[in-house]
């Protein structure tokens, strides 16, 4: 089911991306450093760019891009952005998603395609069975939380293990003006708390874990963490100090994500 707020955020993200120009290049291979990148279409022109380790199978980490946002690293030309590359280095198959809502595509439809792609590739040994994650950085984290419930439903018995927010930009600092994951300002504290309850609901029945990791500017993650704690929701939160000269805070965040998701060292 697509809620109005979810449709708003998806439309906003997709609109920022100018997704009408996204080409359909099913099966095309894009060389990206040491890895092989592939662009796939889950159906309905919903494009994802896949970066996988050069050999073996790896857990799938779906990344919601924050296209157009300053400093966004999720969706970049050829899907070879630094975040996707770092995720591959950390032992994941990075699947970077472009939003579809701007083209009028219901996300139930393309998420079903994505779920089928996961199952087929787990069966073929390209993806690690039982290891599916969803995440995003900055505004992309808002997209990940907005999609999580629908994606989990689409995956069915293929469990969505965790949703990961990196340096999440959720508009929640001090439970501020924008609700969690909503693109509409002015929704206020009650909307933010309502969205926190939605996020907390992901953890019911021990289904999906919530992991928040930030390397500075952590106000939004902290605010969400307080709301989740108030709801007694199980979740994980890592806030590293602001980067200092000589300290690779960004690498620390990635290493922590790897540990939090229980992945072997790449």
């Amino acid at each position: 089911m697509i809620t109005p707020s979810r449709r708003t955020v998806l439309a906003g993200l997709a609109g920022l991306a100018g997704l009408s120009a996204v080409p359909r290049l099913m099966g095309a291979e894009i060389t990206a450093g040491a890895w092989r990148g592939t662009e796939v279409d889950f159906g309905f022109s919903t494009v994802a760019r896949v970066l996988a380790p050069s050999s073996g199978c790896a857990p799938a980490l779906f990344i919601c891009g924050a296209p157009g946002a300053p400093g966004a690293r999720g969706v970049q030309r050829g899907g070879a952005g630094p975040l996707a590359q770092q995720c591959v280095a950390a032992g994941f198959t990075a699947v970077t998603i472009d939003a579809a809502a701007a083209r009028g595509v219901a996300d139930d439809a393309w998420l079903a395609g994505a779920a089928r792609w996961v199952k087929d590739n787990q069966s073929s040994g390209r993806l690690t069975p039982g290891q599916v994650f969803l995440g995003g950085e900055g505004q992309g984290a808002a997209g990940a939380f907005a999609w999580a419930a629908d994606f989990r439903r689409a995956l069915g018995t293929t469990r969505l293990r965790a949703v990961v927010g990196l340096n999440a930009s959720l508009g929640t600092a001090g439970l501020g003006t924008a609700g969690l994951g909503t693109a509409s300002p002015g929704t206020g504290i009650s909307a933010a708390r309502a969205r926190a309850r939605e996020i907390a609901a992901l953890t019911r029945g021990d289904e999906t874990s919530i992991v928040l990791i930030s390397d500075g500017g952590a106000d939004d993650s902290l605010a969400l963490g307080r709301e989740l704690a108030a709801l007694n929701a199980p979740f994980e939160l890592h806030l590293f100090a602001r980067p200092e000269p000589g300290l690779p805070a960004d690498a620390m965040s990635m290493a922590q994500m790897q540990r939090s998701l229980h992945q072997p060292t790449a």
């Binding site: 293990r161 965790a162 021990d206 874990s209 919530i210 992991v211 500075g216 952590a218 106000d219 902290l222 605010a223 963490g225 307080r226 989740l228 704690a229 108030a230 007694n232 929701a233 199980p234 979740f235 994980e236 939160l237 890592h238 806030l239 590293f240 100090a241 602001r242 200092e244 000589g246 300290l247 540990r259 939090s260 998701l261 229980h262």
Partner: protein
């Protein structure tokens, strides 16, 4: 994400964890009954610890006397020093706890490369505030003169504490920043701590610690959050808690206060970890807290902010 191992352990220990909360929140007929209940409960946890087989290698342990009547456990890494130093304030509600209760914590820190001193500060209600605080201040000064004999470097000190000791460690660090020890302080860490007793008077048996004078919650030696400003704490700050820990809200609240004051810090909240989980090395989440802390502490002792 919480491991399957931890889920099983947490399920087993959940009633005991709940008992800790009952011990802290439950009504009692009189103060003596409350203290007796609390100490019985802590003894029970100690008995549980004795049945574990955890025994880290790579360090040795001694019980020493810092001054007449003030004892401390000291754990020292094997090998050539000088090693950075940890001064740890233990928890247990300011009412209970002994050196032996925290030996595994100390040995973890020593195994991680830190000479670690854990004083048995005077406990309430027999010795109300500031007796225990003064003992810890003395222990800090003792380090300067004596830790070299144990392979420690008095110029690199991290103050730590768990549970009520978490806020205690921060208050101690704040007080030490106004002493000549300031330059030696590289960081402070609180595990599952309470940092502002003004807003948490109902939690714990703080009234016994303060000799019944709850106005003392506004003393920065009790609540580090009081009038906290940048520059009042050491350069590197660490906080940790768990999503099943009743100290999670106070820890996150303190973190937000630090952010509002533009004071940098590092925070880790582990899924499913209950109160004082770091004391249980059988827990993957407990070991993870210790690992994250040791990484932080080594960074703090090698890079100055």
């Amino acid at each position: 994400m919480q491991s399957e191992n931890d889920k099983a352990i947490c399920e087993f220990i959940a009633p005991m964890s709940a008992a800790v909360q009952v011990g802290q929140f439950g009504p009692f007929a009189n103060p003596q009954a409350a203290v007796a209940h609390y100490r019985t409960m802590i003894d029970g946890l100690g008995a549980l610890r004795e049945h574990t087989s955890y025994a880290p290698a790579g360090a040795y342990f001694e019980k020493i006397e810092l001054r007449p009547g003030l004892f401390a456990g000291i754990s020292v890494p094997y090998g050539a020093g000088p090693f950075p130093v940890i001064l740890h304030a233990h928890g247990n509600g300011f009412l209970a706890g002994d050196i032996a209760d925290y030996k595994s914590t100390q040995m973890d820190f020593a195994h991680g490369g830190f000479v670690t001193v854990l004083p048995a500060y005077r406990l309430a209600p027999e010795n109300p505030f500031p007796a225990g605080f003064d003992d810890m201040m003395y222990a800090a000064s003792w380090l300067t003169e004596n830790i070299g004999r144990y392979g420690g470097d008095p110029g690199r000190v991290v103050i730590t504490g768990n549970s009520v000791g978490g806020g205690f460690a921060y208050s101690l660090a704040r007080a030490l920043m106004a002493t000549p020890l300031r330059d030696a302080l590289r960081g402070v860490a609180g595990f599952d701590g309470f940092y502002d007793w003004r807003v948490a008077r109902g939690i714990g048996l703080i009234g016994f610690y303060l000799g019944g004078n709850t106005d003392l919650t506004a003393d920065p030696r009790v609540s580090v959050a009081v009038d906290l400003k940048p520059g009042m704490l050491p350069p590197n700050l660490y906080l940790s808690t768990g999503s099943a820990d009743f100290a999670a809200p106070p820890t996150l609240g303190f973190a937000q206060l630090l952010r509002s004051q533009n004071i940098d810090f590092e925070l880790h909240l582990l899924e499913g970890n209950f109160h004082d989980a770091a004391r249980f090395p059988e827990l993957d989440g407990g070991r993870e807290v210790t690992r994250l802390f040791l990484e932080f502490a080594h960074r703090a002792c090698t890079v100055r902010a």
